[in-house]
């Protein structure tokens, strides 16, 4: 076996344990690694405020400490403006339109493997390395393929399903082969002397530091009381802003009156125009088909309909589908109806462990009757 070529690698270091171990592994593999921390948000909870408006505190310090221990150069790049324009504004606009976006995919597509990668390549780097759990393998035709992580439980290929072949060609995921638990990654960090070993995992949405997505949205979209309706259009409750809801949501509806059948009700539809939220029983969530837009292919786009599996949420299960690309649309038909599919989320298609591509869910067709979304 020939040794892997020595690459000039830019390691994105968030200040967390995964990206620190990833950078350490890349360096240990003999690559020429430089660490970079992206300053992404002007969040007062994570930034020192002041006349100079600079210096992230905890996370950038942790990332720098890790880089120093690994023994690699370290820089902070300010991408807050790009991040706000490409990720945060899009996130808010999607919710405003009644959809449920996944900002992590957006960030990978537009920031980490676009703005960051482009700058890295321009500066002479060969690849960007992150702490994602996913694997890149060279396929039988010599092309780079994105696959699920060796450990399915930790797999993060879903949020990478937006990367095209060029982006994959410059990506390095040193944690993808890890058949270890998170505790073992922490143990490895500790063994390497990385102080982030015991750092808690980050929130799902990095720019909402307290995890209060509804509060974040309410601040930007305002709150306006509106009606919660049942499927027949009867008013069954009220809410203080339709935009904070997600299709399939059950908790937090605060409907006083129980349903006639006494069964739980779920959000079926969100109409920002009328500021209404429609609720109904679980079966009404079942969809048979969806249409996705903005397809992204991790390699050659498939021709004609094909049998794949699909994943619809970051930690969702895999379901068998038939999918077909038609121009700028991706039509996905489920073998068995699935529940709680929210427009705005990504559908990622897999062929075995290989990521085929993804699209942003635009419309769904109910299994029972009528279309929603």
């Amino acid at each position: 076996m020939t040794p892997a070529p020595r690459l000039r690698v830019l390691a994105a270091m968030s200040g967390g344990v995964d990206s620190a171990v990833a950078a350490a592994r890349a360096a240990e593999a003999g690559h020429d690694v430089t660490g970079v921390h992206l300053a992404l948000s002007a969040n007062p909870q994570s930034f020192r405020t002041g006349a100079r408006g600079c210096c992230t505190i905890e996370d950038s310090r942790d990332a720098r400490r890790a880089a120093d221990v690994i023994g690699i150069p370290f820089y902070i790049w300010d991408m807050a403006e790009r991040f706000r324009a490409e990720v945060v504004d899009d996130f808010v606009a999607e919710y405003r339109a009644g959809r449920t976006p996944n900002p992590c995919l957006r960030c990978n597509e537009k920031i980490k493997f676009a703005a960051l990668l482009d700058k890295a390549l321009a500066l002479g780097f060969d690849a960007v390395c992150t702490g994602h759990y996913a694997t890149i393998v060279t396929g039988p035709d010599g092309r780079r393929e994105l696959h699920r992580a060796s450990d399915q439980a930790k797999d993060q290929s879903y949020v990478l399903g937006v990367l095209d072949e060029r982006q994959l060609g410059h990506a390095l995921f040193p944690l993808g082969d890890t058949l270890t638990t998170k505790d073992e990654i922490r143990a490895e960090a500790e063994r390497r002397g990385l102080a982030v070993a015991a750092k808690p995992d980050s929130h799902d949405i990095c720019f909402i530091a307290d995890g209060d997505t509804r509060g974040f949205l309410a601040n930007r979209l305002g709150t306006a009381e509106g009606d919660i309706l049942d499927e027949d259009g009867n008013r069954v409750g009220s809410h203080d802003g339709a935009t904070g809801f997600t299709i399939g949501q059950r908790k937090g509806l605060r409907i006083g009156r129980p349903a006639p059948d006494g069964r739980p009700r779920y959000v079926l539809d969100i109409s920002p125009v009328n500021n209404t939220v429609t609720v109904g029983p679980a079966e009404a969530l079942e969809i048979a088909e969806l249409t996705a837009i903005r397809p992204r292919w991790c390699g050659t786009p498939p021709t004609g309909p094909g049998a794949y599996t699909a994943q619809l949420r970051a930690h969702g299960e895999e379901v068998p589908v038939t999918a077909e690309a038609e121009g700028d649309e991706l039509r996905v038909r489920f073998e068995r109806p699935v529940r709680g599919v929210a427009p705005g989320q990504a559908v990622v298609l897999y062929d075995g462990t290989r990521v085929v591509g993804s699209g942003t869910i635009a419309a769904t067709t109910r299994a029972r009757a009528g279309a929603t979304g």
């Binding site: 430089t34 300053a39 100079r52 600079c54 150069p73 790049w77 790009r82 700058k119 500066l123």
Partner: protein, 389 residues
């Protein structure tokens, strides 16, 4: 590894290391009355005398601090408080916009918390304050000025200020002028008495002494309100047990900085000129920031703006090529910001983002400049490809 960041910190001189390490094994609080204390006090006072002599001051005018930042804070805040307490009308602070953050931030703080009215003195395109501008600012109302602070020479672009002339303007109205001479000491003549300034900041580690020690030279007529309260060890304006080994190291370095200054300025100035030529040859459109006249800038300083480049990108590329330099003095762990100094000279903001400072020192050799000359051209070309994000 070519080290072109001496203005950030410069290697300790062997003489300073020897003087300091000799003290490290000894015990004695310089304020104590017993023999160990007397010995420590003797070391401190000898150090004080040597530092005073190196800077044209009297020993009693040397107030030891933990460094340049503390000395600047003591001068700016302390003189403001004392002057305002003596006459409540005195709330105006006349400051120069190209100051180091150790002066800028205390000035901002006084405005935010202590009712100071800050007036930024205009600077020209090389960052220089003109005595007429100061005269005009003072004469609008001499009675409400608490203090004036203008650095001796700029840390980023090396511009030397006409400090003696400015101090004379202030002195005519009995107003104290503080000058941060951290970068000037050892490079150009700094004579405290002759300059007429009320207070002057110097730092140990910029002249080959240890980090963690500096001094405020303070005329006997001035008693700033303390920033640190405690035992009152230094003229009752600064408290804290004196760091005897650091004083010894600082004194040894200060001695040599003064003794070798002329020779150093001549040799390092020649090397600096070669560096400027080399950069201009490799990157013809590089813009030299600061005074192009060697008489008006620190001999060890060169500062360029590289159009179309992000300073940070250049730093990364040069670091990878083994060249250690800096974008200026901005916060070291932070996000690249356009240089406030270069902005204050009226430069285009995009240009202010692409600045690099190359600063020479006592260990600099011609090979350092040659190494830079080889890599700066390709680095700038590559950084331009990455653009301004």
């Amino acid at each position: 590894m070519p080290y072109l960041d001496h203005a950030a910190t410069t290697p300790m001189l062997p003489e300073a290391i020897a003087a300091m390490t000799e003290q490290l094994g000894l015990v004695g609080n310089a304020s104590a009355l017993h023999a160990a204390g007397r010995r420590a006090r003797r070391t401190v006072e000898e150090g004080r005398e040597r530092i005073a002599a190196a800077l044209g001051a009297r020993p009693g005018e040397v107030v030891f601090t933990s460094g340049g930042t503390e000395a600047d804070n003591l001068a700016v805040k302390g003189l403001y408080w004392a002057r305002r307490d003596a006459d409540p009308r005195r709330v105006r602070v006349l400051a120069c916009p190209v100051e180091h953050h150790a002066v800028l931030d205390p000035v901002h703080w006084l405005a935010d918390h202590e009712g100071a009215v800050v007036e930024w003195l205009p600077v020209d395109t090389v960052g220089r304050v003109h005595p007429d501008a100061l005269r005009e600012a003072i004469e609008r109302d001499p009675d409400d000025v608490a203090l004036v602070t203008v650095m001796w020479a700029n840390n980023e672009i090396g511009t030397v200020q006409p400090v003696a002339e400015l101090a004379a303007v202030a002195a005519r109205h009995g107003i104290p002028l503080h000058s941060d001479a951290v970068q000037a000491f050892g490079q150009i003549p700094v004579d405290f008495a002759a300059s007429g300034v009320a207070a002057l900041t110097v730092s140990g580690h910029k002249v080959g002494g240890p980090p963690g020690i500096g001094a405020l030279l303070l005329g006997r007529d001035w008693t700033p309100t303390p920033v640190l309260h405690g035992g009152g060890q230094e003229r009752d304006v600064r408290s804290g047990t004196l760091d005897v080994p650091a004083v010894a190291g600082f004194a040894a370095a200060a001695d040599l900085a003064a003794a070798r200054r002329e020779e150093f300025a001549r040799d390092i100035g020649t090397l600096r000129d070669e560096l400027i030529d080399a950069v201009r040859t490799a990157v013809p459109d590089a813009v030299l920031n600061g005074d192009p006249d060697p008489a008006g800038r620190l001999p060890a300083n060169a500062n360029f703006a590289f159009p179309g480049c992000e300073g940070d990108s250049l730093l990364l590329l040069l670091d990878a090529a083994g060249i250690e330099c800096s974008t200026g003095s901005a916060c070291t762990a932070g996000i690249a910001q356009p240089s406030h100094v270069v902005l204050a000279t009226g430069a285009d903001p995009d240009l202010a983002r692409g600045t690099l400072r190359f600063s020479l020192g006592h260990t600099s050799v011609r090979e350092d400049v040659k190494a830079l000359a080889e890599v700066i051209g390709p680095a700038v070309e590559r950084a331009r490809g990455a653009g301004l994000s």
